[in-house]
């Protein structure tokens, strides 16, 4: 693998390797409660994340991006496929060993209000992982918590306060401190800033970047806001209806998107620049995202695609390297 110039933290080795990941949820019906259909939330996702990099995962609601993040951490049992963390296959590990592995992989959740227990002080919230993994005695844990709070930009003086006493941005910092407690190598951040106002959002994004440099973290950054994802990610994967349709370095994805869906998605983002806005040509997609219960045949984007041909209705396009390090799943890319 070629070492990239200017990004020394990218060591190039693969930390997370996902192949053919599928998560299907059964829809139960009838008096016997049998599965009558499957929601194909994630339907064959391939991706890899290099050590020390941030992979952005974008897509619209219901495309399976959050489910992918959770399935990688084994918070949802995948229906099929393989997930390797540092070479260890996670999908076949017994649950007690998965639990041990969680020290290496953590999650930051979207909702800073719902993801913190209202009856715990923030000291208890941040120390819980340390206690679960028996990291030191009470005094060591206390010191560690104080340090963690400091690292995420909170005053350790607040350890005995409850989550409701903090604003949204501060709560998200608490969630990040909790995720960092066990010094994981890999963090899945599921829409960590989408509930925050723009001025606060920028604070948290900067914090995530600082922490990555400090602790050599690897992120899977799940979000629907493409500008945010571009800002924080080295590479970006675009999902549509349970599949990755394009995966590339963030600059080349934004400058030269190959998949028609990515092109439409990028053109739909409003840009805070009135001149640019008036000159832009917008691709307005017809209709809505189809149901993942009964996805279209072949390429599942074909009913909304202006380039669709007969082959798109029949054959699922594989995710292939169309240009160097630029993967797309399309019969007619470009």
């Amino acid at each position: 693998m070629v070492q990239e110039v200017g990004t020394p933290k990218q060591t190039g080795t693969t930390l997370v390797d996902v192949k053919g990941l599928k998560v299907h949820f059964p829809i139960k019906g009838g008096i016997l409660g049998r599965a009558v259909a499957q929601v194909k939330a994630v339907d064959g996702v391939d991706l890899f994340i290099r050590r020390g990099e941030t992979l952005g995962l974008v897509g619209e609601s219901g495309c399976g991006k959050s489910t992918t993040g959770r399935a990688i951490l084994q918070l949802i049992k995948p229906t099929a496929g393989s997930v390797k963390l540092d070479g260890v296959e996670l999908t076949t590990l017994p649950s007690n060993q998965i639990r041990q592995k969680r020290a290496e992989m953590q999650m930051v959740f979207q909702d800073p209000y719902g993801s913190l227990d209202p009856r715990y002080t923030i000291g208890q919230i941040v120390s819980e992982p340390l206690e679960n993994f028996h990291r030191g005695n009470a005094k060591a844990v206390r010191e560690e918590v104080a340090e963690l709070l400091q690292v995420v930009g909170l005053n350790p003086y607040y350890v005995n306060r409850f989550a409701h006493e903090f604003s949204g941005g501060q709560r998200q910092r608490i969630g990040i401190a909790r995720a960092l407690a066990l010094r994981p190598s890999f963090i899945v951040a599921d829409e960590p800033v989408s509930a925050l106002d723009v001025s606060i959002q920028a604070q948290v994004l900067n914090l995530l970047q600082d922490l990555q440099g400090k602790f050599g973290l690897t992120y899977l950054f799940v979000a629907h806001n493409l500008s945010v994802v571009k800002h924080i990610s080295e590479r970006v994967a675009v999902m549509y209806l349970g599949r990755v349709v394009e995966l590339a370095k963030s600059e080349s994805l934004y400058e030269l998107p190959l998949h028609p869906y990515t092109q439409a998605l990028l053109s739909a983002i409003p840009v805070p620049d009135p001149d640019l806005e008036s000159r832009r040509k917008r691709i307005i997609l017809e209709g809505d995202v189809p149901s993942p219960v009964n996805p279209p045949s072949g390429c599942n984007f074909h009913p909304r695609c202006w380039k669709a041909q007969a082959i798109c209705r029949e054959v699922i396009p594989p995710l292939e390297e169309k240009q160097s390090n630029h993967y797309a799943a399309c019969h007619f890319p470009g």
Partner: protein, 325 residues
């Protein structure tokens, strides 16, 4: 026509809560011209929605109350109107669409019925058949495919983007002069947002409807609005034509807001410049300029006196700041 469609003067809307008086909207003044699209931007809790609700006289009382100022619509003060006069006005001259298309429609009536209901309320001479025809026509106008059949469907049979189109159809059914859209696309995905914004833009041009677009997304403002009000802590801190807001922002808050958004056309290494601290508690706002505690250019005067909106010497641009950029 040069006459202003809407003039809001020194509007004050306060909420009387157990924790104290929340000055959600405090001394807000602005005008809207006929057919103009005005963007109102700001972060959560800055008073942008309460301003809109005040214009509609929809502020829940108690705890909310409009305690001062006037709202002149076509020269009449809305604050002096009786309940009956207001009901005549709402939906016919001023309409509103809300953020959440999932809950703003009534689940037990067909969408066709809900559009027809608005039409019949405001036009006594119209028959049931004609009102229904108007529903189908409106659904067609907001580009719902197969409108004749879809008019007989219930809201749950539509997707989020389609429901927001139905809301727009209801709002525009009586050709209002002013449409207030409170975060109309915040709950929608970007590709659907693009569809809805395009539709609103097209319809407002076609019918000459003035639109007050409330949003926290500066990108949406750049693409749709002619004039922008930036709100902070219950005050309008800057008001200017859209180009000037983005090219020569005068208020430090506007500058901060623009610097804290990640942009697509920027390299990855550029670091965001966040605004330090948090918005003030509106039950106990700081004396002087509400932005002073977070402002990088703060001087001692800012902490004592509250600046009024003043021209900054660039045409129509005004900013409430002693030391504008």
């Amino acid at each position: 026509m040069t006459e202003n469609l809407l003039e809001v003067n020194n509007l004050k809307t306060y909420f009387f809560t157990r924790g104290g008086v929340v000055k959600a909207v405090d001394d807000v003044t602005f005008v809207m011209k006929q057919g103009e699209t005005l963007g109102v931007v700001g972060e959560s809790g800055c008073g942008k929605s309460v301003t809109a609700l005040s214009v509609m006289r929809l502020v829940a009382n108690p705890p909310g109350k409009i305690v001062g100022g006037e709202i002149n619509f076509n020269g009449d003060n809305i604050l002096e109107k009786s309940m009956d006069e207001l009901t005549d006005l709402r939906g016919s001259k001023i309409s509103m669409i809300f953020q959440d298309p999932m809950t703003s429609l009534n689940p037990v009536f067909t969408v066709g019925y809900q559009i027809a209901e608005t039409v019949k309320r405001h036009r006594k001479d119209i028959s049931n058949d004609q009102a229904w025809k108007r529903s189908v026509e409106m659904l067609d106008l907001v580009r719902i495919p197969d409108p004749k059949r879809r008019a007989k469907n219930y809201p749950h049979e539509f997707s989020g983007g389609m429901r927001q189109r139905v809301m727009i159809a209801i709002a525009l059914a009586c050709n209002p002069q002013l449409l207030i859209a409170d975060e109309p696309t915040t709950a929608l995905d970007v590709t659907i947002q693009a569809q809805v914004l395009e539709l609103m833009k097209g319809l407002s041009q076609e019918f000459g409807t003035a639109v007050m677009l409330i949003t926290h997304d500066l990108g949406v403002v750049a693409g749709t609005c002619q004039h922008v009000n930036v709100m902070y802590a219950g005050h309008v801190v800057e008001s200017a034509p859209v180009k000037q807001i983005f090219e020569t922002p005068a208020h430090p808050y506007t500058v901060g807001l623009l610097q804290s958004i990640p942009r697509l056309n920027e390299s990855r290494d550029a670091r965001l410049t966040p605004i330090a601290g948090q918005p003030p508690d509106l039950t106990n706002p700081p004396a002087g300029c509400p932005y002073a505690p977070r402002c990088p250019k703060v001087q001692s005067r800012c902490r004592q006196e509250r600046p009024e909106l003043m021209p900054v010497g660039r045409g129509e641009q005004v900013a409430a700041c002693f030391y504008p950029n």
